[in-house]
Amino acid sequence: MSKNAVDKNGIEDTEIIISKTLRAGVALSGAITCLGLVLFLLTGNSGYPGESFPTSVFEILRGLGTLKPYAVMLSGLFLLILTPVLRVGVSIVTFLKEKDYMYAAITATVFIILIISFLMGKK
């Protein structure tokens, strides 16, 4: 049991760092999405013709530069989609810092699989 107590200190730091990463990501993406939605509802203009909306990261970022409501909303959503990926990335670093190499390797494996599935989707 005493071995467990030592392990727990490490995992608690990891938990707090992951929780903070998620909180920052969620707060930022929520604020941006909300801003876009308010812009859209107030102006009644999406910034894009008809029912269309941007579907690539490049288009979204270009629209964000000119504050097109749909592009702002999608930027927030894209950031939200990135939070779990970011969380896995941050975990690898934190486990390494804790010298928990087994879990650093486990988390890195998950990260690589995530990247592979991201790339597969690009096709």
């Binding site: 707090i16 999406s46 909306f53 579907t55 927030g76 939070t83």
Partner: protein, 277 residues
Amino acid sequence: MISITAIILLISVFAGFIGSLLGLGGGIIITPALTLLLGIDIKYAIGASIVSVIATSSGSAIAYLKDKITNVRAGMFLEIATTIGALTGAFLAGVVSTRYLYLIFGFLLLYSAGNMFKKRNQELPQEFPINPLADKLKLNGSYWDRALSRQVDYHVTGVYGGFGMMYAAGVISGLLGIGSGIFKVMAMDSFMKLPMKVSTATSNFMIGVTAAASAGIYLTRGNIDPKIAAPVALGVLLGAAVGTKLMQRLKSRTLRLVFIPVLLYVSIEMIMKGIRL
């Protein structure tokens, strides 16, 4: 436009609330509500539901991690199985008959609903068989249970079975696009004997990663319509903030009683789909 946005927002608050309580993505609420209630094209409903899964996961993980209910190690370890499973699912799409998958997993859920009903009065897992692999992976844990006002120590068992079930959960969510959360809770609750609260919190922690892997595809395919997905994301985040607060005050027994009807509903729907296909 404002009224539709408000309705979507309200539905999503409810979905985020239920999702964060039970460790599910809220897709079982979002998809039917958007398509049946508001007549939104399934194409956009699916995109909104994947956004809902990620919002529930990230939104509730903040609170559950802070309160140490999530078993991070178990989550990370099992994510290997779910992500490889999701990849397998993507490869298998169009190769295997989804009809049998719906039937097999529908009945599996029905069986586990029965199992859960049998232990409906059990607050915490009773027997703790020693599992060497769980020790090696440092999966055992403890959390402060606010409803019981005490620290709960627990041991993890059935690591192989749980890992296998997680792989299956990844395959079917990759193939059928459903049930990623429900099978995760089942694997942790039935196979690995984690306390119910730890199972739902850890499932919540995990579902975002699996969903993020496919969300990129949905975005480029044009499934994520901002005027639908944005209120969904905001509503779900709000609902999850409320749900996470309530979950800690609920007894595991109560949580299970809410979970069983949802399990029954999903299993019957899957079986019906399998029969109709």
